[in-house]
Amino acid sequence: MALLEIEGLRAEVEGKEILRGIDLILPIGEVHAIMGPNGSGKSTLAYVLSGREGYRVTGGAVRFEGRDLLAMEPEERAASGLFLAFQYPVELPGVGNANFLRTALNAVRRARGEKEIDAVNFLKEARAALRRLSMADEMLKRNVNVGFSGGEKKRNEVFQMALLKPRLAILDETDSGLDIDALKIVADGVNALRGKDFSALVITHYQRLLDHIVPDRVHVLSAGRIVRSGGPELAKALEASGYAGLAAEAA
């Protein structure tokens, strides 16, 4: 069964059409990569799926576990198991990371009809997750993303994902600005979640992340449409030929 079905999705930003009919099916338990040149609509797709304001859906439909995803508020999407790892994680001065994460975790638990987690058990779980990701406990004491380096911000996204245990993660260029060590940590974080209850859309510009998170399928986005789909070898081919050749081929 498909976890996510995107059908003829069209969306515009400030009156400009960015997504021009996206069709994509993500089966349960699979990881798909979405690649494409700058401006092809990769991030717009991530934002439309997660419900950010300012994006107008002008056509098509998205079903998440059979439900109409586009009709849901961002927090409902999160509660039903969708997680967006931001390309540019947002700083929240005055909000402690531990508090933020516990609030998020409990909001999601409440929405799912589960019991809230108390501070002690939360810290236990958080510390365990940090250890798995080779991150320092000190991360919990800092304000959310404030004063974090680019790599720390991306790792904090993966840390949140590890705690919230989504059914579907959308990683929006999580590899950008990462050195090879941080890239491995991020990849390990995603790979640790892989299994029959976890699916992911990995949005990336480069092939190198896909050496560490090997996708089941690769889709190439160009000018708001998926122009090619294939196995992991497609990413390798792109690395060799570049997007320019592909765009010419598609035309």
Partner: protein, 421 residues
């Protein structure tokens, strides 16, 4: 002064003439204040110091003396967080010894027993203080001897209108810290119904003395709060204030500071949290009269509904006050289209080697931050509450007194619960 305000002022002057024989303390100081108040009355908005705060609604009510039972006010004690500290309780301006717990290692008295009135020189320019001097009947006198650390004292002021009657009261508090003395004063001001609360606090800090002053002001949406703090600092003395102002129909908090000794410092951290039709005004007059002193006022406003916040700060630096370090900041988060904030810094500098700065910011909640929180499953209302709390964090988290901090934090949390945004 406008005709209606003049009439209102005349009502209070008439009350003074009636009560004068029974009022405690030196008649001369009372008469001087009465004549000053009669001359100036309640200022209108043509008065620069009241440009953003219109006292006009005062004139629509007629105020009377509280009946002395003050039951409705005393009932509010249930809302005061419990503590083990020594505590002075005032209900409609009257000291309630039976509800108070006096400290045993330093001096505390009722104003009626020690009615000193002539220590303020600023009455000419402070009509609300003059009104208090004219009518003050009770208050607390707190006196900490040289070198002593008095620990924590809680000062509770409760106000309530009586059976549809608007009452007024003008308590007069004095805090005297001798050289090297220390005190943490936690002030909690609560009220219900229609009344006018016009307290004056004089704080005199001897050389090297330290006063930490944490204040929660959370009064009725129909009440008037006109308070004045007069603080004088000798050499190396330090005043450190943290106020959470939830306001009233009209709340004006004046701070008059005289920094008189070398190396003294004054810090005021204020948060104004306002909703509905509330209006809160924090106005500071800081006089630097000695070299090498610092003063700092940081005001954070969170305003929703049709509420209005005001911060005015005047820093005057005398010629002798070289190396003065002055700082003023007014920040506002406006949560509705009709919320309003007014800001007016004023510098008057006669010394040539000083550092004085001021700034102001106004904004709404950041949509990026809201989306980030919501994308993590936090519902919109809760996300907004978290961001507002974060805006106030700088002020709340720096309160060095743990219990005092919890009083302010709980007040902010309760504020939310009552007012989903």
């Amino acid at each position: 002064m406008s005709a209606v305000l003049q009439e209102a002022a005349e009502g209070f002057s008439a009350r003074f003439r009636k009560l004068a024989p029974r009022l405690p303390g030196p008649a001369e100081a009372r008469l001087r204040a009465a004549s000053s108040f009669r001359a100036r009355g309640f200022p209108d908005t043509r008065d620069e110091a009241f440009r953003f705060t219109n006292l006009r609604p005062l004139a629509d009510l007629s105020f009377a003396e509280p009946d002395g039972a003050d039951e409705a006010a005393l009932a509010l004690l249930a809302r005061v967080p419990a503590s083990e500290w020594p505590c002075l309780v005032f209900a409609n301006g009257r000291f309630r010894a039976e509800r108070s717990r006096l400290p045993d290692d330093y001096h505390v008295a009722a104003f009626a027993d020690e009615p000193v009135l002539d220590s303020i020189e600023a009455e000419e320019s402070a009509p609300l203080t003059a009104l208090n001097t004219m009518l003050a009947e009770d208050g607390g006198v707190i006196s900490v001897p040289a070198g002593a650390d008095a620990g924590t004292l809680v000062l509770v002021s409760l106000g309530a209108g009586e059976d549809g009657r608007a009452v007024d009261f003008h308590p007069r508090h004095r805090v005297i810290l001798a050289a090297g003395a220390r005190l943490a004063l936690i002030e909690i001001v609560l009220g219900e119904g229609v009344y006018l609360h016009n307290p004056v606090m004089e704080a005199s800090l001897g050389a090297g003395a330290r006063l930490m002053h944490v204040k929660l002001q959370n009064e009725s949406a129909r009440a008037f709060h006109l308070s004045s703090l007069h603080v004088a600092l000798d050499a190396r003395a330090a005043y450190e204030g943290f106020s959470l102002i939830c306001g009233a129909r009209l709340a004006r908090s004046e701070i008059h500071a005289d920094i008189k000794g070398t190396g003294a410092s004054l810090a005021m951290n204020v948060a104004q949290l306002l909703d509905g039709e509330r209006h809160a005004d924090t106005t500071a007059f800081v006089r630097h009269l000695a070299p090498g002193c610092s003063s700092r006022q940081a005001v954070k406003n969170v305003i929703t509904g049709r509420a209005q916040g005001v911060f005015q700060g005047k820093i005057a630096v005398a010629r002798v006050a070289q190396k003065t370090d002055g700082y003023q900041m007014n920040q506002a988060l406006l949560l509705s289209d009709e919320a309003q904030v007014n800001s007016k810094p004023e510098l008057e500098i006669f010394a040539d080697d000083v550092k004085c700065s001021h700034g102001a910011t106004v904004g709404a909640l950041d949509p990026e931050q809201l989306f980030y929180l919501r994308s993590r499953g936090v519902p919109g209302d809760e996300a907004r509450a978290i961001l507002v709390r974060a805006f106030l964090a700088e002020m709340l988290e720096t309160v060095p007194h743990e219990w005092g901090r919890s009083v302010l934090e709980n007040a902010v949390d309760t504020w939310w619960k009552d007012r989903p945004l």
